[in-house]
């Protein structure tokens, strides 16, 4: 087993364990910190396949933005010492068996499928190439989703402000 394979398996073990901890931790703040580890491990996998820009975006937007937002909302809405009550055992076992069956079916299909690995030179995802493709409208250009995303972000910005704004007292 080569070094990068070893690094990949260690990383995925860390990711999976922290993901499990994020959905089972009884203190919400700890769940958010475990989520941070899972997202950081994903960024490391992006680094391993040479997608440096995507890894940087993952660290900035997920780890820097979304986790901080989640931590803010936890601090605003729950007491810091509060422990979540455990869900009922019937619910836990039903959900666990449902997701386990889903995972088993997915892995069965994955292993039965023979993927033909692509050939050709690896495209170097430099920031220049990403910028050109993002604004190109020919083949392989992504200008339409880019514009749609910009409208979506504007709508989310306005919507978040309007929803979270303190309503004037009803007169």
């Amino acid at each position: 087993m080569g070094t990068s394979a070893l690094i990949f398996y260690i990383l995925s073990a860390v990711m999976i364990l922290s993901a499990i901890a994020a959905v089972t931790a009884r203190r919400i703040l700890r769940a958010a910190v475990y989520l941070l580890f899972a997202l950081g491990g994903t960024a490391a996998i992006y680094f391993m396949v040479d997608y440096y820009f995507l890894a940087a975006v993952q660290l900035i937007v997920y780890a820097g933005g979304i986790v901080v937002l989640i931590i803010f909302s936890i601090l605003l809405t729950t007491h810091i010492n509060e422990k979540l009550e455990l869900p009922r055992w019937s619910k836990i076992s039903a959900t666990f068996s449902l997701t386990a069956v889903g995972f088993a079916i997915t892995t069965y299909v994955l292993t039965a499928q023979s993927f033909t690995t692509g050939t050709g030179t690896f495209a170097d995802a430099t920031v220049g190439l990403i910028g050109e493709r993002m604004l190109a409208y020919g083949e392989g250009g992504y200008v339409l989703p880019f514009e749609v995303i910009s409208i979506l972000l504007l709508a989310a910005l306005v919507g978040a402000i309007v929803i979270a704004k303190r309503n004037p007292p009803a007169s």
């Binding site: 959905v23 899972a38 396949v49 937007v61 989640i70 690995t117 972000l153 979270a164």
Partner: protein, 105 residues
């Protein structure tokens, strides 16, 4: 990593992460922890896109763009969701899903 780890292992890791997120989404009652489950699921899908792109179509970077757009949508979704949680908490002093029935109209 590409020539040493088979594609099915990467896909297994991402599908395991997806179903862990689904488990969290279905068992949790606090809205913030449910959001954490949704973020895990979106993240697992991103790993899938990047793995397929790198292993099967190495000369293009289309999966890279899909992952980028999913990250942007996840950010917008988290911002709106947290605004709703804060407004709910201000109105009913709780973000437990079983007590949230005010939004039914």
């Amino acid at each position: 990593m590409i020539d040493q780890v088979p594609l099915s292992h990467v896909l297994s890791v991402s599908s395991l992460m997806f179903f862990i997120g689904a488990y969290g989404f279905l068992t949790r009652k606090n809205l913030v922890t449910m959001l954490i489950g949704v973020e895990l699921m979106l993240n697992a899908v991103n790993i899938n896109f990047v793995a397929f792109d790198r292993y099967l179509y190495p000369s293009g970077i289309n999966g890279h763009f899909f992952a980028l757009f999913i990250i942007a949508i996840a950010a917008a979704e988290a911002a709106v969701a947290i605004a709703i949680f804060i407004n709910l908490y201000r109105n009913i002093r709780s973000i437990d899903v079983e007590e949230v029935d005010k939004m039914k109209y």
